[in-house]
Symmetry: C2
Subunit: 307 residues, 2 copies
């Protein structure tokens, strides 16, 4: 399968590397890592075994890639202003565009430009960071869940899941994209923002009783709003939250992507993870006051570094 | 009047200096500034005129001060474990103890040791910071409001107010200590904690629309809880909040004491300004969820610097 990676951050590089290792024809749109990967290939470190790809198709411009069967989008959501223009040269009549970006609103951007039927959405449970240029460190997890933007079960999504599973990427084909997106937000909304704001890793926030309680309350707000979004089946709040907290405890001292972005003084994915979910919660008459407060604090501190 | 200052931070030094300049017999318990003030006196800078006190009675130990007519307490509330022991040598049968410390619970500590009738509480609206040892910078405001811990109007409080006013400290004698304490909390609760957490001064928090909205909502929570504390007259939320926001805007880029404490890696007055008010709000069945969230974030980040 001819696959293009738009947004070769940690996620794009890691999944792209696994797909290439499985025999697919990969094409990476690169920026920071272009020089390093062009010259010396891509190094992946992982508890499941390190590996090296010596020959990687690297591009600075997506027009050089041309049409592919599958576009995998891993772009930071704050760069979505460029998403359509970066993706367009890769899209032909039969192309599937799979976005694994964080938060809400990404599929909408792609569907607006390329048609809803070409878009598949998904969420990744992946602990992965970039190292020095040309290196990606897979730390833990790595499974993904994908679903049609147009809702309902689909053969295409099941075939895609099969391709990912064969490449060593545990992948579940789902029927309700809204549900898997909001389930992911139950984790992303408290942990991404609180870790970025406080510069404390996940384990510290779970050890402090006050913030552990706060995380639980924020998760309850997100579940309540999610269950007003027309899900095929409601999220069972208490069970799901307990599961999320346990899963996070097992991850140890994890630094979520937004915390890393802030440490590097990069922009934060505030609209995708906070702004749009807050709008959809308000529209469904289920406001999320603690989430709104975290959003406000992130916005205020974000403006600090702006002119 | 023979006056002892316990807790010679910015507040204690500034008010003590004004009282000494007005002719009273002042005695300062000092720690950080002992050497400097013993040798070269105390410098006050102020938009109302700078002045210098060449001769200042300085002590490292309150036993050397002995009984006074008035104890003025400006100790940081997180040091209240030592408050009784520091104050005891200054207290005789007729001594009045006036605490101008932040938050709730300070009068209770003093009343427990010295009897409720000896205690007067008060709040200061003072923008004042310490400079290099021996120097205090008065920036803006400076008025105080005082009231009996045992409630109701009192001749003693009116006489004290007269003494302060004569010394150039605008002072209002009040009858309801609970009300003036909670009115002060309407300002302290949002601004002290949010500035400390974000390291942004008051003007930045008021300029960002999201945090301005958050500050208003937190003030509404505090007013609602205050109005359940058996006040002689309820606080009129919308008027009072509008007044507080305008007053803060007039202060410009102000850094509240808790923000300065955090920048200096000093402990924060979390119990007095958050913990005890939250308990009293919960006991009055009027929880303050945004205030609780701010408290949680301050607790979690406070633990960062602890072993």
């Amino acid at each position: 399968m001819r696959i293009g990676i738009i947004g070769s951050g940690a996620l794009g590089l890691y999944y792209g590397a696994l797909l290439q290792r499985a025999g697919h024809d990969l094409h990476f749109l690169l920026r920071r890592d272009f020089e390093a990967i062009s010259h010396t290939g891509l190094d992946v470190t992982s508890p499941r075994g390190d590996f090296h790809l010596a020959e990687v198709n690297c591009y600075r411009n997506s027009r050089e890639i041309g049409p592919v069967d599958l576009v995998l989008v891993g772009l930071k959501a704050y760069a979505n202003d460029h998403l359509v223009e970066l993706t367009r040269p890769l899209v032909a009549a039969e192309t599937t565009i799979l976005t694994l970006q964080n938060g809400l609103g990404n599929e909408d951007v792609l569907a607006g430009a390329f048609g809803a039927e070409s878009v598949v959405g998904g969420v990744a449970f992946l602990c992965c960071n970039r190292g020095k240029p040309g290196t990606v460190h897979h730390l833990d997890q790595g499974s993904i869940r994908i679903a049609e933007f147009t809702k309902g079960p689909s053969t295409r999504v099941e075939q895609l899941a099969g391709i990912f599973n064969q490449a060593g990427i545990p992948c579940e084909a789902c029927a309700d994209l809204t549900r898997i997106r909001w389930e992911k937000l139950v984790w992303n909304i408290p942990f991404n923002g609180l870790c970025a704001l406080t510069n404390l890793a996940t384990d510290r926030l779970l050890t402090c009783p006050e913030t552990r309680q706060l995380i639980t309350e924020m998760m309850q707000e997100v579940v309540a709003a999610a269950n007003r979004q027309g899900l095929s089946k409601p999220i069972d709040g208490s069970d799901f939250i307990e599961h999320m907290l346990q899963l996070t405890a097992d991850m140890g001292a994890y630094c979520p992507s937004m915390m890393i972005d802030r440490r590097q003084d990069s922009p934060l994915e505030l609209d995708a993870i906070y702004g749009i979910p807050l709008q959809r919660a308000t529209m469904a008459a289920m406001p999320m006051p603690r989430v709104a407060m975290l959003h406000a604090l992130l916005e205020a501190t974000e403006q600090k570094s702006k002119p």
